[in-house]
Amino acid sequence: MRASVLQSIRGFFQEKGFLEVQTPTRTLAPAPESHIEPIPLLEGGCLITSPELHMKRLLAAGYEKIFQICTVFRRGERGHRHHPEFTLLEWYRLHSDQAALQEDCEGLLQFVCRAVHRESGWKYGGNWLDVNAPWEKWTVQEAFLRYAGHDPLTQWNQDTFEEVLVQKVEPNLGFPAPCFLTHYPAFQAALAKMSAHDSSTCERFELYWAAIELANGFSELTDAMEQRRRFESVLKEREKADLPLYAMPEKFLKSLEVLKPCAGIALGVDRLVMLLADAPSLDDVVAFPPAFT
C-alpha cells in the first residue's frame, strides 16, 4: 500500500507538470515555531521539521511548480497519529493561491484512491469513506458555531481553541469525503497570508478525512517585514518558555523579498496510507514503529 501510494503521488505530480525536488535534511535556522520542537544536532542546528523554507527559496529562485516527499523530524511527538519522524509530502505553486491547492488536493486524493482501488469507497474504522462524494468546505468559524456552539473569532481564547478543535470539531470532519477547514483565525497564521477582506482570519486551511488532519496549506506570506516580525515574536515566546533557540532564517527572509505570490501545502503521507489501509494506528503502516521514549 505504501509503495503504491508513493508511486501514485509521483505519478499525479508528474502528470501535472510539477518538478520533484530534494532539499537539505539538516538546517541551522529552522522556521521559528511555538509548538513544534526540532531535534537538535551535536554539530549545531537541527533536523528539519518541514522542508518549507528551502522549498520557498526554490520558488524565489524561479521554480514554478515543485513537490517533495521527504522524512521530517519533530521531537516528542508520539501517539497513534504522531511519530517523531514521518513522511511529508509538500508541494508549492508560484503565482497561485490556496484555491489552486484545494483543487490539487481533490485531484491528488482521487488519483491515489484509483491507484490503490479505493475509488468506489471503503470502510475506515467502521465509517464509510468515499473520495468521490461531495467535498465539504467549512470555515473555522462555521465549524465552531456548529459543533462547539461558540464563535472563535469574537470569543477568542488561545487556551481552549485547540482543545475545542480536537475534542468537539475534528471528530465530525471528513465523512464520507475529505473536508476543508478554512479561514483560520489570524492568530494561527504562522507563515500564511492574511485574508484580503478580513483581518481576523488568514488564508490557511486544513484538510481532514475521517476526523484525521491530513494536510495544512496556505497562501504564503511573501512580506519579508511581516514574516520577520512574526518570527521575532515566536523567538521571544520561545525564549520566555526556556525552549531551545535557533538562528533567525535570514537567507529565507532575504528570498521573501523577491518571492512572488505563491501557495504551498504539506500532507502527512503516513496518515494517508493509514486511512487507505484501514489501519487504526501509524504504527501499523511503518515497518519500524518508533519507541515510546
Binding site: G79, Q188, N216
Partner: protein, 188 residues
Amino acid sequence: MAVLTASDLRKGLKLEIDGEPYIIVDFEFSKPGKGQALYRCRLKNMITGSQFDRTYRSGDKFNSADLEEQEYQFLYKQDNSYHFMNTSNYEQIELSTDTVGDAVNFLTENLVVSILLFEGRPIGISLPNFVTLRVVQSDPGIKGDTAAGTTKPATLETGFVIQVPLFVEQDETLKIDTRTGTYVERVK
C-alpha cells in the same frame, strides 16, 4: 516525589492529584495543525476505582504518586479487619474489608501477598497468581450425568465456592488461579 511534565505522560503512569493516587488507563497524544500539544488522559483513582478524563498541555507539571509495593504475610482476620505482617521489617498493618476486596476469597494464614502503599497507607493488595486451597465440602459427582455438565461446586477453606471437575473430593488440595478464580489442578 518526582516532578513530571506533560511529555512524561503515558499509559500506566501513576500520578498524584488532589492528594490521591491515579493511574493513566488510556492516553492519546494529539496536536492540531501548528497548535500546541494536547495530552488526553483517562485517569483512574487507584483507591476508589472511579475514572475521569482530563486534557493536559505542554508546560503542565505533576507529582508522581508516592507508591510502593511491599511483601506482607497474612496473619489473621478479626471482625472486619485483616492483619498482615511486613516480611522484611515485621511491622504489622491492618486492612479493611474494602481494601482487601475479592482477595478475601483466597487469603489463608501465612500467605505472602504484595500490598500497595500510597504515602505509607495500604490501598490495595495483589495475590500470587496461584494459591493452593483445601476443599472443605463437595458432594460426590454423579457419574454419567453429562447433561448437567462435567463440573460440580466445591466449597474451599476460605468459604469461596468454585466449579471443579467431578473427580475432586472433600479434603483434597487444589491449585487455584487467583486472577480468574478458577480451578487449575489437584495438588498431592
